[in-house]
């Protein structure tokens, strides 16, 4: 019999725990996807800081723990951002809560659980087609073990102005949540989805959520991702998006709090004349660790992408930004813009920022900027010299710093909520 090394033993134990917590994964109904995912989990080691993609983010603690299935019930009322005016859909510990959800009743819009969608044969064609392109270990984990999630399909030429508001509430001690959404916006349609992840103080959990987004010709899709989890949550969030010609894909990733957060955002711009906007903001406090990895892949000419990530890093926290932009040989006339700006508020805080532009076409306009600095104390002094208290002065400057990201949020109530939370954090 083969003797397992210590790291392999850990991996086995971790996977055993996840398998027990996720007894009936969706992939049971998709043999090929499941087999491919299991093969990746078996053959590849758990990523370590030796690999470039995980250089600053350790998974040791997350892997070293045994995670369990969570309870299916908890009142979610207090977690909703008021006045977003969406269709509220609640998942508690990854399990759909029908009683607390209001299913949309708009013509052309289909919303159901992934389990139901799978049964109804709605996931056959494209499901997993984007995530499979890269055999990331944690994405494979999601494919193998995701128990449920939300399926959204919007028919061509349908504009829905009310957002779908997906609330992911995590509770309990050492809870495992592996969830997967699939969103398809057909030609010329228009949709906004809010994904809000929350948990109460004292919770501990591993949350792995993967989204697949398909945005068809001339469609517009807004995805507002808000992470606001208290407690000791390891949150692993991945979006894979593909857009085709004349479409617009806008995503905001706002991390208001999180013990350990890893966001992977991957966008394939696969049609002419697409617009892609990626905005992000994070403000870690205490010992929080927030890592944003983004990738925009320009495959086709005449597209424009615009990326702005802003961070305020405090106390002993760490933030990581890695922004890849590929401009493939065919993607002439691409306009790609990227900016990552950070304010580091304490000597013990760490910020790692790395733009990575790989440009293989010659007739393109690409720019990127990465700045990490301190608060502008001269500006604080100027404001104070006009009678503004020090606290309010700093608030004004924080607000100004994140304004372009906040202003991009498509829902006013959500924007105000995020801004208030960020300001609360800055003054803590």
């Amino acid at each position: 019999m083969e003797v397992l090394s210590a790291t392999d033993q850990k991996k086995e134990a971790f996977l055993k725990g996840i398998a027990a917590a996720c007894e009936t994964p969706l992939s049971m109904g998709a043999t090929q996807l499941r087999e491919a995912a299991m093969a990746t989990l078996e053959s590849q080691p758990v990523p370590t800081t030796r690999s470039e993609a995980w250089k600053y983010t350790r998974v040791t603690r997350l892997i070293g723990k045994t995670w369990n299935k969570g309870e299916a019930q908890e009142n979610a009322t207090e977690y909703f951002v008021p006045e977003v005016n969406g269709w509220n859909i609640v998942f508690v510990n990854g399990q759909f809560d029908a009683a607390q959800s209001t299913m949309p009743d708009a013509a052309g819009l289909t919303v159901m659980t992934m389990a139901d969608a799978l049964k109804a044969g709605k996931l056959d064609a494209q499901w997993g087609s984007l995530t499979q392109q890269q055999s990331d270990w944690f994405e494979a984990l999601n494919m193998a073990f995701a128990t449920d999630g939300l399926y959204i399909h919007l028919e061509a030429k349908t504009a829905i102005d009310r957002p779908i508001y997906l609330l992911h509430l995590t509770t309990g001690d050492a809870t495992a949540v592996v969830s997967r959404n699939f969103i398809q916006v057909e030609k010329g349609a228009n949709l906004t989805v809010v994904q809000h992840a929350v948990s109460a103080e004292g919770t501990s959990a591993y949350v792995n959520i993967v989204n697949e987004h398909f945005v068809a010709d001339n469609a517009q899709f807004n995805f507002e991702k808000i992470q606001d989890e208290a407690g000791e949550i390891y949150h692993h969030s991945t979006e894979w998006a593909e857009q085709t010609r004349d479409s617009r894909y806008d995503i905001r990733s706002i991390t208001l709090q999180g013990h350990w957060v890893r966001n992977n955002l991957n966008i394939r711009v696969n049609g002419e004349n697409c617009g892609t906007n990626l905005y992000g903001s994070y403000m870690p406090n205490g010992k929080e660790h927030i890592d944003n990895h983004t990738m925009v892949d320009h495959l086709i000419p005449h597209c424009e992408s615009n990326e702005v990530y802003k961070g305020i890093v405090n106390d002993k926290s760490t933030a990581v930004f890695n922004g890849k932009v590929f401009v493939r040989p065919d993607a002439q006339k691409t306009n790609a813009f990227q900016q990552n700006a950070n304010i580091v508020l304490s000597d013990d805080a760490e910020m790692y920022s790395k733009p990575e532009l790989e440009i293989y076409a010659d007739d393109v306009k690409c720019s990127h900027g990465s700045t990490t600095g301190q608060f502008d104390e001269e500006a604080v002094y100027y404001l104070r010299a006009r009678g503004i208290g020090e606290q309010s002065a700093r608030m004004l400057l924080v607000q100004a710093f994140v304004a372009d990201v906040m202003d991009a949020i498509s829902n006013d109530a959500l924007r105000d909520y995020c801004l208030n939370k960020l300001q609360e954090r800055a003054s803590a």
Binding site: D376, E378, A379, Y381, Y382, L383, R384, A385, R386, G387, I388, G389, E390, S392, A393, L396, L397, Q399, A400, F401, A403
Partner: protein, 250 residues
């Protein structure tokens, strides 16, 4: 109004103010002149509460209250205003929001009810007209992309909005063309009153034709070495500072 007695202040262990004394009574306008590096801006900064400077001796009182003991914001709330020689740009903070926040905090400190939105806008209109500041500039980010002259006018606009009892103007005239200079002077003169005092720091007698001072002082090596009336400014313009330096070293 303002009483400064034997003030000493240093920055990074260099003593810049070396026993400066000055008294400004209500309604008076004092001009301070002096060669580059003599400590004029340092005096303004120390009075405004810039924490880069360390006060090592002496006192400064505003209407009997110890200024040096107060934070920068409280000095402003007590009625001190400094028009900066080099106003900073603050991207993303609009002039209007910034002034609204300032007035709110100042009025709260003085136990005054907050201004209504319409009263506030009325005030903005009136005061920006006074210094002929383009309405667009009041909505833009504080000083961002403003020309040198616009920045200075914006300082006077802020002064007019906040209605201080003591205003210190640090080279507000530098870099202004004659028309802008007249506008700024008009703004200041309109605000002159028996209860309000001004300290005008300048290199040029020209400004003092428009803002006529009651007293003129020469600051040299961190001390006021000569005081007189407005004629002193004319004399300095003509003869420069060498004769004063000689007097001091003699």
């Amino acid at each position: 109004m303002l009483k400064i007695n034997d003030l000493h202040a240093s920055i990074e262990d260099n003593e810049i103010l070396r026993g400066l004394s000055l008294e400004v009574k209500p309604g008076e306008v004092h001009a301070i002149m002096g060669p580059n590096g003599s400590g004029k801006s340092t005096l303004a900064s120390v009075l405004a509460g810039n924490e880069d400077y360390e006060v090592t001796g002496g006192s400064a009182e505003l209407d009997g209250k110890d200024l040096l003991d107060m934070g920068t914001e409280d000095r402003a709330r007590e009625g001190l205003f400094l028009a900066f020689q080099y106003p900073v740009e603050i991207p993303g903070v609009s002039n209007i929001n910034f002034l609204r926040a300032a007035l709110k905090d100042i009025r709260e400190y003085r136990n005054l009810a907050p201004l209504s939105a319409s009263d506030f806008l009325k005030l903005v209109k009136e005061k920006s007209a006074l210094v002929e500041l383009d309405g667009k500039l009041t909505n833009r980010s504080v000083n961002e992309g403003f020309s040198g002259g616009e920045k200075k006018r914006n300082e006077i606009f802020q002064m007019a909005m906040l209605e201080p009892k003591l205003a210190i103007l640090d080279e507000t005239d530098s870099g202004l063309d004659i028309d802008a200079l007249k506008v700024v002077a008009h703004g200041v003169n309109t605000m002159r009153s028996p209860e309000r005092s001004f300290i005008v720091i300048t290199h040029y007698q020209r400004l003092l034709d428009y803002i006529v001072p009651d007293f003129v002082h020469v600051l040299y090596k961190g001390r006021i070495v000569k005081s007189g009336t407005k004629e002193l400014a004319l004399e300095l313009e003509e003869k420069g500072y060498d004769w004063i330096k000689e007097e001091v070293t003699a």
